[in-house]
């Protein structure tokens, strides 16, 4: 499908340039994180303000609530070359819109079953609840996920994109 291509985004280009200059050749996964405005995105903010270190593999996409993340968005991310997708929202019961995260949970779980049939490793799609003040958890989640994805290697869907 035509449209926005991850490999052409400015930030990716800059990163690739730095890597080329430093002659780094190891695989760096790309994580797309859908973070909810009220909790997970604030957590990412806090992580930044508190200067917690976490890998630069993540691209945050702010959404108003995890309940608005269509399974289609997640698949589109994989289609366009993401190695992993993180869906992060408020704890169950804390949703700003009462039940958005419950819907997200149902959808992600259903999508996981489908991606399992397609042959995708389960670790590539992750659902996490992160409180607004919990910058540490956000940093840890990204670190943990980036580590796992590094071990797994590039997403099986990505080879098509290159060839």
């Amino acid at each position: 499908m035509n449209g926005f291509n991850l490999s052409r985004s400015i930030r990716t280009r800059q990163l690739l340039q730095v890597r080329r200059m430093r002659k780094i050749t190891e695989f760096e996964p790309r994580i797309i994180a859908f973070t909810c405005n009220w909790c997970a995105y604030s957590a990412a903010d806090i992580a930044g303000i508190s200067r917690f270190h976490y890998p630069a593999n993540v691209r945050n996409i702010k959404v108003m609530c995890t309940g608005m993340i269509d399974p289609g968005y997640i698949l589109r991310a994989f289609e366009r070359g993401a190695d992993g997708v993180l869906v992060a929202g408020c704890e169950i019961g804390d949703c700003h819109y009462i039940s958005g995260n419950i819907k997200a949970k149902e959808r992600v779980e259903r999508l996981k079953k489908l991606l399992h049939i397609l042959g995708l490793e389960d670790e590539r799609l992750r659902l996490e609840w992160i409180d607004a003040g919990d910058g540490r958890k956000f940093a840890d989640t990204i670190e943990n996920m980036a580590g796992k994805l590094k071990k797994l290697g590039p997403s099986p869907f990505k080879k098509e994109v290159k060839s």
Binding site: M1, N2, D70, P71, G72, Y73, L75, R76, F78, E79, R110, L111, K113, L114, H116, I117, L118, G119, L120, P156, F157, K159, E160
Partner: protein, 385 residues
């Protein structure tokens, strides 16, 4: 391919502007802004841009209702298929249903590197063979099962029951672990390149398996293999829908049905009926089960009404109205159950009964079942006694 080539190929220039297509079209009946005649007019009078940018371009169900009755023999569904190819090349596609997950899955499947785990539902209950002449094409059933989990699409049950029936007949079919989507939906939404890749993959693995005959439980796969694959790949196999196969083998006395006391009515799926001309075999199969009373609906056989959406695109309030209308018609026959032969018909009807759209139509409750499930249930009762 340009619009002129398409007009020539589908004999659109024969159009008499009689408007039979628009009066027969199930979409036009509910959606006043869609008209097949208008679409053809746009093409013939040279308004190519208007045609391609028309938001209704992807609404056509390609159900062949219009084309069968057309006095000038214009192949309107094929015209739609080709024009959508043009539109897709310009970056236009319809509104995908279910947030486009099904289309995404089809495209992700294109990748040769993936290893599908599509046969995890197979258990020892079903006997399959590694090598043989007969292949059972499972198709999208494992994906549908989870994609439509919330209203029990039952797509996987169709595959399971098909295997069960084939086993009862003493046939142990092959089932391929790395077959991919047949590409029907991509082809009908204009993505020819992806379709070609899927077709090439499927043709290759089927050739490698050495199958002589392929049995489908889904009419869409059957149609695609029969009419569309020959244009892209070379595959020399006998193709049959499971109802055709069973109707052929019924006389051998291997299937003895137990009595099922039910009044049923049969929905002709557009692909199986109008596209492929299979009307008699499913009816023969249903009537072979003792105790079953088959009542025909008002619109039946080649006049049957489609289930409202095709290729998971442009599913809207009008689609729901078409479905509700069809369900009401089925209800009016006094039947307890609506039998269909296409997994998608079943999904669409069940969806119409569950989802309450903004425009609330009349509520209809009706059992919808696939013909394969019905046959298997008649056999099952037999086994338990």
């Amino acid at each position: 391919m340009t619009l002129e080539d398409i007009i020539k190929e589908t004999k659109t220039y024969y159009c008499l502007e009689c408007g039979k297509c628009s009066s027969l079209c199930p979409i036009s009946r509910h959606n006043p802004s869609y008209s097949p005649r208008l679409m053809l007019e746009k093409a013939l009078t040279g308004f190519e841009g208007d045609l391609i940018n028309d938001q209704e371009l992807f609404s056509c169900l390609t159900c062949y209702n219009c084309s069968l009755k057309c006095p000038a023999d214009v192949d309107y569904p094929l015209f739609m298929q080709k024009v959508r190819t043009l539109a897709f090349a310009q970056g236009r596609y319809g509104v995908p249903a279910d947030s486009g997950i099904l289309q995404s899955f089809m495209r992700l499947m294109l990748n040769p590197a993936i290893e599908q785990r599509r046969l995890e539902w197979l258990s020892d209950e079903y006997r399959i063979s590694e090598k043989g002449n007969i292949l059972f094409f499972v198709g999208c059933a494992p994906y549908f099962e989870f994609a439509f989990e919330d209203f029990e699409a039952g797509a996987l049950n169709i595959a399971k029951d098909s295997l069960k029936i084939l086993n009862t007949l003493g046939i142990e079919p092959m089932v391929l672990a790395d077959e991919k989507c047949c590409g029907h939906d991509l082809l009908w939404t204009g993505d020819v390149e992806s379709f070609r890749k899927l077709a090439e993959h499927n043709a290759r693995i089927i050739k490698e398996s050495g199958a002589k005959k392929i049995i489908f439980s889904c009419p869409e796969g059957y149609r695609t293999f029969k009419f569309d694959y020959p244009h892209y790949v070379d595959l020399d196999c006998e193709l049959q829908h499971i109802t055709e196969f069973l109707a052929e083998n019924m006389g051998k006395g291997m299937l003895d049905f137990k009595e099922v006391k039910k009044k049923v009515t049969y929905q002709d799926p557009c692909r199986l009926g109008r596209h492929l001309g299979v009307y008699e075999q499913p009816r023969k199969l249903i009537e072979a089960i003792p105790g079953i009373e088959l009542i025909e609906m008002e619109h039946t056989r080649d006049e049957s009404i489609c289930c409202g959406t095709s290729a998971w695109t442009n599913c809207d309030a009008y689609s729901k109205q078409i479905r509700t209308e069809r369900l009401l018609e089925a209800k009016a026959t006094g039947a307890e159950m609506l039998i269909t032969a296409c997994p998608k018909c079943q999904i669409h009807f069940r969806c119409a009964m569950v989802s309450k759209g903004e425009e609330k139509g009349p509520d209809v409750e009706m059992d919808v079942m696939d013909i394969v499930n019905l046959v298997a249930s008649a056999l099952e009762d037999n086994g338990s006694e």
